[in-house]
Assembly symmetry: C2
Homo-oligomer: 196 residues x 2
DNA sequence: TACGACATGTAATCTGTTACATGATTGA
DNA sequence: TCAATCATGTAACAGATTACATGTCGTA
């Protein structure tokens, strides 16, 4: 059974707890969105499709006069989920505007301008680090426990790996940009600013 | 003037040399595709649009009976390109199926299975490293000159930064996965395999 | 002569986002 | 009472891929 893009994240979250479409969206926005986003426009139609295929089962549990449909994963659903996870293939798609700008930065006249492009890219990743620190801090209450050593204790299970990956990754990019900036400046000092 | 996604990569390549749509596609597939892909279905219509807006100018240069239209960037186009590059904002989108699998790997029963998910992710990035080494090797002919020190000399200019970034990045991910696998195995030895 | 590279283009399809419509509940 | 949150859903649009249609040229 071929799982759609949204289907994967829905079954994944339902493997942990029963949830409504709204709940799933909340969890996505607060965790997987950094590498696997999903919108209402995808989630609600997909929930219907997954139920038709027997991978999940929904139950109407209205809260007062407020409609609410909560879904539970079925045995068939769990099997589809685990066989997807255990399949060794996986896609990686990156769309990185900063890198594209760096790639074409030789269209700018001065080395200073080119360095500025690298600096802007670093800043974008610094912002991502801060955003992830917020996610990490939110759950560990109070002090922002964002260093790789302590995160795992605060966020047990596999999600901790992924949060740590995000933090490590964006910090690595910032460091990479800073090193490149430094070596570009160094080269400029030596050649006296002769182009790149 | 708002530049479309494809417009950015088209203007970028045209800032270096005059090219046909076919040429642009070749260059994209051989360089930016790793972080900024583009298909014929986007390139050809966009070339028309860019010409209508006066950012590029096309000339029919048939090769014998074979049709061929070559485009050149205009002054207006160059201005739009550079102001886009110098704008400090940029988007980063990642869609990483391996990370999603790791995130939900607690749905699997044994630690061994979970480690296998990390191992599969590492393998995907090892393949990316090999692919980039091929790109790097293709231009430097013969010996595969893929170490960060020598790449810049073989591929002068900004594209070298980006190639180096790709290589460094995928190697970093492989290392990250290997370290996580090691520490997961370590934890298992200590606890005697009590879940995650 | 057949295949692969050169070359342009469009139509169908798919995926995903945004905006909108609708309405209940909770707390300031 | 007003805003924010809870809750579901759809329609319009945007972005992108795939497949197809068409034809030339060089070379094995």
């Amino acid at each position: 059974m071929e799982l759609s893009s949204v289907g994967k994240v829905i079954l994944g979250f339902l493997s942990r707890e029963d949830l409504s479409g709204y709940d799933i969206k909340l969890r996505v926005d607060d965790s997987t969105r950094f590498f696997w986003a999903a919108s209402y426009g995808q989630i609600y139609p997909e929930l219907k499709r997954l139920e038709e295929e027997g991978l999940i089962k929904g139950t109407d549990i209205p809260q007062g006069g407020r409609a609410r449909r909560v879904y539970r994963i079925t045995e068939a659903g769990r099997e589809v989920l685990t066989s997807w996870i255990m399949d060794t293939g996986s896609t990686v798609e990156l769309r990185h505007e900063g890198l594209l700008k760096v790639f074409f930065a030789d269209a700018l006249d001065s080395t200073d301008n080119q360095v500025a492009v690298l600096e802007a890219m670093a800043e974008v990743h610094r912002r991502q680090v801060r955003e992830l620190e917020l996610v990490a801090g939110k759950k560990s209450e109070g002090e922002l426990a964002c260093n790789p050593e302590t995160i795992a204790e605060d966020h047990p299970g596999m999600p901790a790996f992924v949060l740590r990956f995000g933090l490590d990754f964006h910090r690595w990019v910032v460091g990479w940009c800073e090193r490149e900036i430094e070596s570009a400046r160094e080269a400029e000092r030596v050649t006296g600013g002769t182009g790149v």
